[in-house]
Subunit: 297 residues, 2 copies
Amino acid sequence: MQPKIFASFASTHKQLLEEELRERVNKLVAPSVVKEAMLYSLEAGGKRIRPLLLFATLDAFGLDTKKGLLPAAAIEMIHTYSLIHDDLPSMDNDDLRRGKPTNHKVFGDAFAILAGDALLTYSFQLIAEIRDEDAHATTKLALIQALSQASGAEGMVGGQVADIAGEDKDLTLSDLEYIHVHKTGKLLECSVVAGAILAEATEEKIQRLSKFAYHLGLAFQIRDDILDLEGEEERIGKRVGSDAVNKKGTYPSILTLDGAKAALSEHIELAKAQLKETGLSTHMLEAITNLIETRDH
Amino acid sequence: MQPKIFASFASTHKQLLEEELRERVNKLVAPSVVKEAMLYSLEAGGKRIRPLLLFATLDAFGLDTKKGLLPAAAIEMIHTYSLIHDDLPSMDNDDLRRGKPTNHKVFGDAFAILAGDALLTYSFQLIAEIRDEDAHATTKLALIQALSQASGAEGMVGGQVADIAGEDKDLTLSDLEYIHVHKTGKLLECSVVAGAILAEATEEKIQRLSKFAYHLGLAFQIRDDILDLEGEEERIGKRVGSDAVNKKGTYPSILTLDGAKAALSEHIELAKAQLKETGLSTHMLEAITNLIETRDH
């Protein structure tokens, strides 16, 4: 597939998604400050990788991707709430995200926590409000079940807990994988699985797509760690020594930089192999996979 | 109805609920610290007024109250998460709740925030997992819709935002009612409405029960403010002067103590009138109403 076909797919769907997010928050009958805080982080940009995975999965099944607008918005709200809470002083204490002040820097800690809570809560309402012609009642419930499991204690929240609990400890590869599979992997996986649920796919296809997304999620995280390290090298203008490579709890620190690159390739190959086995028309999902392998930010 | 019949109804259902809460958290495959933090606050006691309202509503329709176990657990999880987040240093900064150290005092701010997030997320999963013989798929979706609306930006979270935004400001009675109707009222109302939804009640009955719960919620809050004031009098051993009565943003401060007592009686009467109009067998709901009118803690 030509990259420009995917670029157009991505920009069209990003725009649709962003309009939906804005509209859904604007229509809330709520104090304006909480709506502003919700929108501030929803509109802070980002690659919208989770929504795109969902749309691309619907595309693989030959379905109208618009069916996925509300679940995609719900997933992006959950991702956004997790960033707001993770940035808080008592968590990662980050002042900047994507070059802009973090939510609590603008709205204060209390409103940041509450804006996160509101986004998380609203996400489930959005799925309950999918039009009946876009999904059966049992399909909507399956989406809610998958989304809450992927984002709660057994998924994303559990990963964040393990990440904080593991700070300043020597992590094994298996500790590190637990953190990433849960903290970022589960919601990425759920984005693909949600598309398959909407398509009323067979259990076998859901399993394949879920494995595809599992490997994609790990590849995403390994690439992140590699970019961090290479970014650091660029910043200081020379190869970083063992200190930076050994920065705890990253793939390069455990596997070496070359080992991390090899692991990245391996997960990308495994992801593509699962995709192929689905027998679906997975051009868009492949394009996202290539993007994740080679992304430079 | 004899008070002891309600007392037995309440203690039986509290026990069932508490077992369900414990079981549901214990079965999570998640880092133990987040499960401990979730259970710590779920098991900190409390009147379980929201679950009891739900069970009492099912009883009014002559239904098996066990049908309500999962939605009741979901509502109690949402109530509990809201207490954990409200107690945080950046919100009300409370060190004690019901005589025990607050969640963040025991587990730290980060795990307290995450335990709250996990409880909120899990609550929607519980509803999606109600057995098909206990509720149709469309009924479960109606529950999720009602619960997310009652607890998000348009409900409880919106009320908490307004409460924080109104701190140290002169509140009118209408400001104060907005805060209470949203911060505590909406979830109380939802507890009753959830029972009616489970009973597949007519829209007219749902509306009546919703109005009943609206007045009950306001009565609950007014009684709270009166208890605070009288408790303060008891603590200092004499009638409190205008300073305490004028403590900002309470019913006695706006209506005087006598005015607050009159408003309490009025909301109790309005609540009972709505109940009567339902034509249901509302003994248990009446017992809860009497309890709220006369409670001393």
